[in-house]
Subunit: 228 residues, 4 copies
Amino acid sequence: MLSRPPSAKSRQRTVPAAPCVLVTGFEAFGDDPSGQGLNPSALAAQALHGQVIAGHPVVAAVLPCVFGRSVAVLKALLKQHQPSWVLCTGQAGGRAGISLERVAINLDDANLPDNAGCMVVNQPVVARGPAAYFSTLPLQAMLGALQRAGLPCELSSSAGHFVCNHVFYALMHQLRKSPVRGGFVHVPYLPQQAAGTGRPSMALQEITQGLHVALQAALDEPSLQTLS
Amino acid sequence: MLSRPPSAKSRQRTVPAAPCVLVTGFEAFGDDPSGQGLNPSALAAQALHGQVIAGHPVVAAVLPCVFGRSVAVLKALLKQHQPSWVLCTGQAGGRAGISLERVAINLDDANLPDNAGCMVVNQPVVARGPAAYFSTLPLQAMLGALQRAGLPCELSSSAGHFVCNHVFYALMHQLRKSPVRGGFVHVPYLPQQAAGTGRPSMALQEITQGLHVALQAALDEPSLQTLS
Amino acid sequence: MLSRPPSAKSRQRTVPAAPCVLVTGFEAFGDDPSGQGLNPSALAAQALHGQVIAGHPVVAAVLPCVFGRSVAVLKALLKQHQPSWVLCTGQAGGRAGISLERVAINLDDANLPDNAGCMVVNQPVVARGPAAYFSTLPLQAMLGALQRAGLPCELSSSAGHFVCNHVFYALMHQLRKSPVRGGFVHVPYLPQQAAGTGRPSMALQEITQGLHVALQAALDEPSLQTLS
Amino acid sequence: MLSRPPSAKSRQRTVPAAPCVLVTGFEAFGDDPSGQGLNPSALAAQALHGQVIAGHPVVAAVLPCVFGRSVAVLKALLKQHQPSWVLCTGQAGGRAGISLERVAINLDDANLPDNAGCMVVNQPVVARGPAAYFSTLPLQAMLGALQRAGLPCELSSSAGHFVCNHVFYALMHQLRKSPVRGGFVHVPYLPQQAAGTGRPSMALQEITQGLHVALQAALDEPSLQTLS
């Protein structure tokens, strides 16, 4: 977990600071083929920590790759930082570009154990929750900005059934009656993870740039501008 | 085509310079999905131009993506620069890593026109030439070095049937009785080319690093050291 | 549209017939690479028409590949045949096996025109409908039966955003307060469609067998047995 | 190994029989993901055994999936049956169609052990043999016939580096001064092998039909007609 962002200091001033953007990544998990304990989502989130995008300071945090506990940590972060935007990110090995997830499904159905050794199969994320939530991020604006930046990107309609979708669904459930906007983005393997697998990869610099470009586009979206 | 490398000046000294390494890339062609006239092989070759690897200066050049003419330009470069090593490179859209080509086939069989509008179908590269030549680069050493550098890479057994294989075969035919070692490497799309295609890509910095690492490994290979 | 199934005659007997299983396929559309006007889903549905599975006669129908009209036809079929089970099927070019769809999304977002020339982009299937519905078919039992039959199969979490998902969502919305169970299955290209594309295919006989095996497993599922 | 074909009887007649077509497949090996000991190439070859194509009886045989021994068995078959055409076939898991191999490489480089437990790495098939041989089958005519039959098919420029390429190279080396024509064809997984892998498959009936169609086209090719 990271310490408070540089912008925290500005809260002591008379002009109230803009609310922050919370960006989360995940710790490494069993799907890291390099076995080096890498997860590009955590590295990219950390690289954005403390930056200011469209006037909003970025607060980054790394979530445990564990069903249940990841959501508890996320809820604590929401409470602590009171962000006006939330972007959760995770690693999608095998995808070639930055994937803007459209929809979170109320389904945990792992095919490998989480980092606590637990393999949740065919369970709802939230009992009696609705089947799905859509992302409330302005995905079309984010996609356009990524395309203009020449970065491989796509809309995706499935965030899978592992801890990524679990956190995405729990986030959207938590925000369901809130004006705070949130969503989830998957990023490819790093080159050093993909080496030897024949699978696509993206350099950390481009992943970080991609998240920055997408956040900039989201926060600049006039119709969705939050009041500060 | 690039001007003479910086090392040319050193030839005025009394100690003769080590022979150069010739690295070629290709100009953009119809397989560039970005339509921006990009070819990562040319950009990476140019980035290596003038560097000194294991004591050998790199001379880079860009070949036309044209059957026949590409080989004429290559032969002129061989004559002009008298390299002791030759690495030809090209773009292989859809591959995820740096591909060390094992074998050049005596077959031109294009499925798109070259940059002169010619689509050569089912013809030999060299009439009455042998069916194939193996690369004479130390591919296992190069592959190992790329793996240690954490770069996606692979051995490949087909350089296709377009101008890449055409140049590769012609190079090996030209070198068949020579101590000069040569071969071919394919590189992936750049991110800005792959954007919107769903296909893998690699950042230019990593492609360039990969060619450097592979050349370093080749030139360091003791059993293959050329006499200068 | 097909005529009534052979079992209709049995309704004249004193013992009431079991309610039917409605199986729909789609007419050919722009994604048929063979240009021969093929759609394996329609052919397989028609091959099942009139068969009796676990005591239930199969009624097959072919839906138009048109946003809106496809749903109107489906609703008329539901009203006419009063099925106790509904299996809608469609073609998913590029998939290698029979795909049991888990979830229908409230999103139409076509990237090619439907058969009426209309390309619906980024619209809900049902205005103010929930984000998604889960299939109410016993997918795990169906998957197990397909695996035991040695047929390539998988669970899928995205039915896309074209007319297939449109019909799937509309079906589940229609059945949301009904005891009738329903869902959607995607099938691969036929060999003659895949020829020349490099994409996977499945013979019609196996597709038809797969739908039969999956329906048999669904209708045999004791906990879900419908009352006849 | 199979017994003599039905056509053997005709050799007792005064009119000499046409020379046979030798078709080989491979026994199952470690790449069979079903673990059921299947290899579609052997099953398809056996299904063709005894058929007469363009006047030539088919003799089928199954080769061991063992470096060295496979070639010894092939040579014995060539000596025993004196075929005028030889089609060796093997399984290429992951390919979606019937692959007509263009070129055999003088390279054994296995990444799994053969059925004798031996994993040959980076060795020539024939010491001091040429780098490669082209197939001498009329591949364009065969490809056209497969396309007209609506069967997924492709030309391939790499038969890999396992026992398939080993046999292919050894065959072409054996035939290099002979009028007998030969080549190699790879076939996809069977559906029951691909189940659970997400990889493409082809029904045995279509694989067998494909080999028949391709052989028919080869034997009908006027310019290549053998004298009987």
